[in-house]
Symmetry: C2
């Protein structure tokens, strides 16, 4: 396919590279910042533009990978080309595009992307939704060119998925941060915890979390929990968090 | 070394196997349950006992890998052999052993062990502490026979480490569980989130958590957070947790 990338952030960068690697042609990369557009365009051998008036209409697909707030404006500007348009946002309904064009869908890669770290796109789940069955089929074929994991997910399901992803990714990373801060107070290196963090994530690749829960709360080990709360005496916010999470674990449904 | 394993749980099992693989001789495996002792003893070619009166005194080291509550009783029973004794607990002070024998230390592998999953012990951090410098040296040499990551950690530091490990492992696993529950309500498969969970843990192997924090809270994206809280309307406990974690992320010290 001939694909135009709107945006130059993490999702735009990783998607553009994945499409390019799969043999698609990237026509243009648009960013409000021409330097950002140029950097990505260079990597995927496309033209960089910083003005939507310079859009090349000879494309099959606009991939709108901009901030959620900007999706609507960009869609409105691109609708006149009457080409297939997808956004890549977990938190935005398909309806946002359909308000401007029927030829619309969602192409949501469910992964945390950083510019500094390569991702093996082949294992990234891509959630697709089309404005009609034909569009869904096109997106399905396109998605399978870059990953093995393609899911048809409607806007309501994607809302749930986006929320669940916060619990699965953003919040655990914050807990890693808290653990690192606790160590830092005693000048202990974060390297001590890194293998534990990785193993914890690896365990749930094959098991359900409820089946591999460990620690004082799941044993209802009140003595250890009491000791931990005492250690957090100077940090009442962490105490509240510790209590809340531990109470949740104690009540966990083992049936998962 | 000739090593006697007291206990047959996850830590006992993984440590015994690591010692055996490194060429040490496992003399006996003790468990209150002879079947458990026999199963582990079979794997490491040792004798199984379920009675501490049957201890073979021809050993160099007792590795006490029993529940925290039982460490003191076992130590008291084994003190008469006047052999080096270590416990493997993150939550127990060295003092617990020193009350019964001077020849004591701690050998704490910082990892989450499951019987169903092999662990590459070579990357597991082992935290050692000896009752005196000679013991620490012995434990240091012993630890390096099974892992590359050996740390000298005193009892006060180990207390912090144990607490931090709850934040780095037990609590994230509970958040995985919550994310899986959110998906299950819409019959969405947990496989959707597994790559995200793994990538999140892999990111902090090379970066600090503060440098790779993503999600609506770190962007202070109030609209998305508002939507998420609304989705949790029927689950006030998850709302509180969401608020607490998001507020923490908003206040995160980017300097790490």
């Amino acid at each position: 396919m001939r694909i135009t990338i709107i945006g130059s952030g993490n999702v735009a960068t990783h998607l553009a590279a994945a499409f390019k690697n799969a043999g698609h042609a990237i026509v243009q990369v648009y960013s409000r910042d021409l330097q950002h557009a140029s950097l990505l365009a260079y990597h995927v051998r496309a033209n960089a533009i910083d003005n939507l008036d310079e859009i090349d209409p000879e494309t099959d697909l606009f991939v709108i990978a901009v901030k959620d707030d900007a999706i609507e404006t960009v869609t409105a500007a691109l609708a006149k080309y009457q080409k297939l348009m997808v956004h890549t946002s977990g938190a935005t309904s398909l309806q946002t595009l359909l308000a401007h064009t029927e030829n619309a869908g969602v192409f949501y890669p469910l992964q945390t992307f950083s510019k500094t770290k390569e991702v093996d796109f082949n294992t990234v789940p891509v959630c697709i939704e089309g404005g009609n069955e034909e569009i869904t089929s096109i997106l399905n074929v396109l998605a399978y060119t870059i990953t093995q994991n393609v899911y048809r997910i409607n806007s309501d399901e994607r809302r749930t998925l986006h929320l669940a992803a916060v619990f699965a990714c953003n919040f655990p990373n914050y807990l890693y941060y808290l653990s690192q801060q606790l160590l830092a107070e005693k000048q202990l290196p974060f390297d001590l915890l890194r293998p534990l963090i990785l193993e914890t994530a690896q365990k749930v690749q094959e098991h359900l979390p409820a089946d591999v829960q460990t620690g004082p709360a799941i044993r209802n080990d009140e003595k250890t929990m009491g000791n931990h709360l005492q250690q957090l005496a100077l940090n009442p916010q962490l105490q509240v968090l510790y209590e809340l999470l531990s109470q949740g674990i104690i009540k966990m449904d083992k049936a998962g």
